[in-house]
């Protein structure tokens, strides 16, 4: 009783450090960016930073390219990591146990190091090429500095992440759900579509949105492994700041990228907020 009435401020105090960091490094810079994006270099209110991008063929091309990369990475990583997570969940072999220990490893390798490692394998003079040379063929994979290179490198990071989320989701699918279904005559196919997917689809959507949002603003990987053209939005933004030194336009592009991500966030919220009847009372 006594414990309940004291320290009503405690929860606020606990939230304060995180909130103030958020305020100063996230919220304020965002307001600053939005503000800047509606002004020109001499400080006058303008929309030209935005109209520039709406009229620019390069920006449109960049948007399409980013969308293709992001969707490809999303679909591939969701499908591949779902398969991986299924294997980890339902196979009891030593390979599965080993994989279960190893699959998160890429997440602990610093990004740049990993990208260079992948580049060294897939570049035209890389490991693949050297192996093919030793077999007497000069095979140039043509993966690096191409959309395929961006997608491959991104998968390196997104598969462990998505697989981790899906493993968590699949661990909530009890063995007896599966066994009951087999008992009443269900094939593996219908177990997947009727039992496993309905129980895990939310987590699949959530991990898909996470992967997608990460791609929209991606910079390092496309910068190092992508083609000169078309550029992903992250590179276009970097170019606005580094080459054109047009910070106002860069701010406008930041805002546009943010709005794109917001689309992803809405999907995420809807998936997370949808209250299935069967989940109530849990």
């Amino acid at each position: 009783m006594i414990n309940q009435k004291v320290r009503p401020w405690l929860p606020w105090l606990m939230v304060l450090p995180a909130f103030s960091i958020m305020l100063f490094v996230v919220i304020l810079p965002i307001f600053n960016t939005v503000f800047k994006s509606f002004h020109n270099t001499s400080g006058e209110l303008t929309l030209e930073n935005y109209t520039y991008f709406f009229g620019s063929a390069e920006a449109f091309q960049s948007l399409i390219f980013t969308a293709i990369v992001a969707l490809a990475v999303m679909i591939l990583s969701v499908v591949l990591s779902f398969l991986l997570a299924l294997y980890l969940r339902f196979s009891k072999s030593w390979i599965s146990r080993l994989l279960g220990k190893l699959y998160l490893l890429p997440r602990f390798i610093p990004g740049i190091a990993a990208v260079y490692a992948v580049m060294n394998v897939i570049k035209d003079s890389g490991t693949i090429n050297r192996v093919s040379m030793s077999l007497g063929v000069d095979f140039k994979p043509g993966l690096l500095y191409d959309i395929k290179g961006i997608i491959l490198c991104n998968l390196w990071f997104s598969i462990p992440f998505a697989a981790m989320m899906m493993s968590a989701a699949l661990s909530a699918v009890n063995d007896s759900y599966i066994e009951s279904a087999r008992d009443v005559g269900s094939s593996w196919g219908s177990i997947l579509t009727k039992i496993i997917l309905p129980l895990t689809y939310k987590d699949i959507i959530v991990s898909a949105t996470f992967v997608l949002m990460g791609q929209i603003g991606a910079f390092t990987i496309p910068y190092l492994t992508g083609p000169n053209n078309p550029k992903m939005l992250g590179i276009l933004l970097y170019q606005q700041a580094a080459t054109y030194m047009d910070y106002e336009r860069a701010a406008a592009l930041s805002v546009l990228i943010f709005l794109l991500c917001l689309g992803g966030a809405i999907v995420y919220i809807r998936a997370n907020m949808r209250d299935e009847v069967w989940e109530r009372g849990k």
């Binding site: 810079p29 570049k123 910079f219 083609p227 917001l262 919220i269």
Partner: protein, 414 residues
């Protein structure tokens, strides 16, 4: 009620999360200026204390660029701090922003400090080349750097490139030269002139490359040379925009030359690809993907000494030469102790410091090389002697070259 609170809280969290995603990955100009660590701040405070108590002032050199530049600056700073003639005048610290981590950072930090109205900062000396200085001026005004009185720098006498220096706010401490780097196993008779080079590129499709000019100076130099070879010589040392606005024909010619060369350059995945950064084109050379590229002399020599580039990689200067530059010191008006800063510049121009600079990063000396002692690979110095430095200082026109290249040449690569 509980449900709606839950919804609200999670919506807010998600929106913030999205913001972090966007902010982290794509808004360098927002986040970087906030990343000055508290450690640096406290150093600044303790310095102030030291100063008021009459002790030796600390001079902080701020630099940006590759790791090797940091090491070189630091090596000279360390020598300064143990040199009895100098360490009574100041104590040198080096703060460095390694490029590739958050490249805009140094400019942003300086701009942030300046815009915050600070006047007593530890931005005592900025060590950058001309291409790094112009963005600072662009954001902070022409008067941001104070004139340097060279009479207070005794070793300034040693400098051999005095004629190349424009204005009175800049004192060079090393040269940056781009030459042609080639694989001598394949190319026995390298081009000696730019015309020969352009012909060689066309004769050997796919075997030459230069990096995206907006990402590395070696590529930028290739593009700049193509344009400025069309212009009168005096244009190279003038930041006047008339060299663009009144000479569009020459610029067009330069860019059409670049466009003409484009299909003969290195290709991967079935199309021309300009590598990113100076290291990107050197990597292609090291892996024998190309036989020739433009490269910073000091990068080639450093890589050769470390064994990451084979001995067979040689350097060749062209005639007319690729555009070169000088890296040097400027003193921001917001720095604390401008007198002490002069003594530091003085030391960096000593023969001793110039030798250290060569030995740590094969920096091209700005002094008479015959007076340098204890050099590693002194034969390489002869090979790459830049007494014929073709000095470029074109200010904001640099940006125009990079922008026009990005708009006209880069789109060809698809």
């Amino acid at each position: 009620m509980n449900q709606s609170v839950k919804k609200m809280v999670s919506s807010v969290l998600v929106i913030l999360m999205t913001m972090v995603f966007t902010a982290c990955s794509s808004a360098p100009q927002n986040s970087s200026s906030k990343s000055v660590s508290s450690g640096e701040k406290s150093t600044a405070q303790s310095e102030t204390k030291q100063e008021t108590s009459g002790e030796i002032p600390t001079v902080t050199i701020w630099g940006s660029g590759g790791q090797e530049v940091r090491e070189s600056l630091q090596a000279v700073a360390d020598a300064f701090n143990v040199d009895a003639d100098y360490n009574t005048k100041a104590k040198v610290e080096v703060q460095f922003v390694v490029s590739g981590t958050s490249e805009q950072s140094l400019v942003d930090r300086i701009t942030a400090a300046n815009q915050a109205g600070e006047t007593d900062t530890d931005y005592d000396l900025i060590a950058l080349d001309d291409s790094g200085i112009s963005p600072i001026i662009a954001q902070n005004g022409e008067d941001f750097f104070v004139p340097i009185d060279t009479t207070k720098i005794p070793n300034y006498e040693n400098v051999v490139f005095k004629d190349n220096i424009i204005g009175d706010t800049f004192v060079p401490y090393r040269g940056t030269t781009v030459m042609l780097a080639y694989n001598s196993e394949v190319v026995s008779n390298p081009p000696k002139t730019t015309e020969e080079l352009y012909q060689w590129i066309k004769d050997n499709p796919g075997r030459f490359t230069y990096c995206d000019p907006s990402t590395g100076g070696s590529g930028y130099t290739f593009a700049t040379t193509a344009i400025y070879n069309q212009l009168p010589e005096e244009a190279a040392t003038s930041p006047d925009t008339k060299w663009k606005t009144e000479h569009t024909e020459e610029w067009d010619k330069g860019f059409s030359l670049l466009a003409e060369l484009h299909p003969y350059l290195y290709q991967t995945a079935g199309k021309v690809q300009y590598p990113m950064k100076n290291a990107g084109s050197l990597d292609l050379l090291a892996n024998k993907q190309v036989d020739m590229t433009t490269a910073f002399v000091n990068m080639v020599l450093t890589n050769k000494s470390m064994g990451t580039l084979p001995e067979s990689i040689k350097l060749q200067q062209l005639d007319p030469a690729f555009s070169g530059a000088l890296a040097g010191f400027t003193i921001p008006k917001i720095g604390k102790d401008k007198e002490a800063a002069l003594s530091v510049i003085d030391y960096y121009l000593s023969y001793e410091a110039q030798s250290i600079s060569w030995n740590t990063m094969y920096a091209s000396p700005v002094v008479d090389t015959n007076k340098l002692e204890n050099l590693d690979h002194s034969d390489w110095l002869k090979e790459t002697n830049i007494s014929t430095l073709r000095y470029f200082a074109i200010g904001s026109l640099q940006k125009d070259i990079a922008v026009r290249w990005t708009e006209e040449i880069a789109p060809l690569a698809q």
